[in-house]
Symmetry: C2
Subunit: 454 residues, 2 copies
Amino acid sequence: MEIPYKIYLDESDLPRAWYNLRADMKNKPAPLLDPATHEVMTAEKLGAVFCDELVKQELDNDTRYIPIPDEIRDFYKMYRPAPLVRAYCLEKKLGTPAKIYYKFEGNNTSGSHKLNSAIAQAYYAKKQGLRGVTTETGAGQWGTALSMACAYLELDCLVYMVKCSYEQKPFRREVMRTYGAKVTPSPSDTTAIGRKILAEHPGTSGSLGCAISEAVEAATTRDGYRYVLGSVLNQVMLHQSIIGLETKTAMDKYGVKPDIIIGCAGGGSNLGGLIAPFMGEKLRGEADYRFVAVEPASCPSLTRGVYAYDFCDTGEVCPLAKMYTLGAGFIPSANHAGGLRYHGMSSTLSQLYHDGYLDAVSVEQTSVFEAAVQFARVEGILPAPESSHAIKVAMDEAIRCRETGEEKTILFGLTGTGYFDMYAYQRYNDGEMSDYVPTDEELAASFAKLPKID
Amino acid sequence: MEIPYKIYLDESDLPRAWYNLRADMKNKPAPLLDPATHEVMTAEKLGAVFCDELVKQELDNDTRYIPIPDEIRDFYKMYRPAPLVRAYCLEKKLGTPAKIYYKFEGNNTSGSHKLNSAIAQAYYAKKQGLRGVTTETGAGQWGTALSMACAYLELDCLVYMVKCSYEQKPFRREVMRTYGAKVTPSPSDTTAIGRKILAEHPGTSGSLGCAISEAVEAATTRDGYRYVLGSVLNQVMLHQSIIGLETKTAMDKYGVKPDIIIGCAGGGSNLGGLIAPFMGEKLRGEADYRFVAVEPASCPSLTRGVYAYDFCDTGEVCPLAKMYTLGAGFIPSANHAGGLRYHGMSSTLSQLYHDGYLDAVSVEQTSVFEAAVQFARVEGILPAPESSHAIKVAMDEAIRCRETGEEKTILFGLTGTGYFDMYAYQRYNDGEMSDYVPTDEELAASFAKLPKID
């Protein structure tokens, strides 16, 4: 059967349930701990911060399929099923016998896969009768996605945006405002933790960990609000499983089986979502695939981090998670262009990596932008810097196939578009971009500050 | 048959030929004239400026279907067939019995329908053995599209970008540079006409008419270059017929017949492309539809212009075209946010309007942005300001149906996304946007300068 450039599934093929990979894991991800007592977080405690239904999903390590409510499926239909693209033009350009596919999640205004979880989280908040949700955003995709979902459901949306992004990406901010969100640069004087950080670090340009603390405080000190998060958590990876489910359906339809599946990894939700059903087969012994997480050399949590309980935020108000981490105090060089700046990694992916089911590589950003530009010129799509980490490694694999003659099938996740990252592209175009890799000493100093958990 | 949210045609449904609406027009559009002698432009004369094959297409008023070369179809497959969307969410929000459809052309990095003609024009330039092409761009969609097409074909691309856009939209410029184009702010000192304009109007922020003059000079004074244009011309409307052909195929597949077809109109190519096959049926007496061109009240060429021969550019180096025009010297208020700033209108659409086959309305920009924001919040897509002119009128029609109870089927063209127009959205969000409508006296003064052609 001839494979088209773009495989679009029918709306009737849109999955009716998310796939919960944890159900097929022998070693479950470690539970969240109370940051004060170090006791396992209960549903009740989590419910003070998160929506009830999302707490259930967060803690459910057993139910394999969780139905997608019709209201969420209807929203999905506005931009899903997302296309699976055969990169014929890239293959030709590279002169490779490899067959390259990518799942493109950028076909929506948020510009990324983030919308898949944003609508789910907003929906459960609405269903619980809440007035609104709070969150943080760094690069801005998550904040945009949540704003869109809240606008659709007429839910209040408070976004704490890392100050340097707020200033460097005014247009991201405007998209959120256009969707009705209230956007505050973080740290701000609207929260106690924000005021404390401002007092201790006057003139700071903020960090994701700090914005998380502010958003959590804003949720827990307001009536009818809960906090929502765009990555790292189990629930997010659950919602993102729709990426992998659609991909698998599309590939099965054409009898294609990937040899290697590649995704960029910041908090891990897009990669986790893309690989979920394939990893499930691997865990159940039904099939084998090679999985590769790609992270920036400037923020290498899997490749150079330690596997330990750590804080998720600077303010230490969030639960502790066991994960590969660079230490909650680690702040990647401001030089780094894209997202993927989080110090930790999803507990689920961390466990899989620890158990040897997943490989990880790190790449430097100038090589990532080089790959991004090559890709854009032949495939048309201008990729987000985050997504371009996966492009870089997919291209490397395809070039290796040219050398060995192997006809591997390579699948990668193209998580989003770079329309709001042109400042970074400009620096690359002007030859002003450089690389940064933390030293062993820097990392050791950061690891020394990890909380001591037995 | 239940109609999905998005109708995606198969790749095999991608049209194999463009439809040349002129073949079905009894009154053909008036021919281009030599700006110096006022004689009808010959193919030979046009060939000094345009690619040979494109000159043929420009002058061909008789061939109904012109085959799309396989190389262009392959490129189209990277982003086409474009989806026809049923606006279920908008219908629900408006509480209208009307059925609203839109053809979405924003699913590509150029952010608009412009790519449909860019790849065709670049292809014919490449086939002719040329080294490169030159063009102008205002809002930036056309320049981006041409850059993408030239990158794909490895063709040199020189873009003269209206200076105020160059400065206000640095990220548009960076997208073009990322695709390898050389972008020059216009007026510039790289051309004789640019130097002349700079000397006469020091500190000018430029205009589309001026950038056209520079791009034409750049093409005609270089070996192996030709000039290409993103709208107005017959050839462009021919390429854009793919929009209407796909739309008609998708609607026919589901047995849907539009009552009213709405599009924004700057130079006219997207509207002309969308309506082409429907208008063909109307001209041949096979079916009836109402067609509506929507233009900004600040640049109302159809609704307030005159039907006359006029210059297409400020430098008066391009052929004269008979069209509805505000006068080549008319410059819309800088206050106006989007594209649609061109003083004239496609000769083909002008003739159809003159003959009563097409209606036109003008709308003010604050009402356009109001509609755009409403649309974005329920349909997800953040529309370009240009496209939002069509949204505004489609919503007005749907609201009228709510009042009358009519179940009209409304189709409009959603030509692109607004990701690079956030400065305009910001002004709207901040309540700083205002409207501008030229006075009768201003227009009369502009009309007085029209060239006198017998």
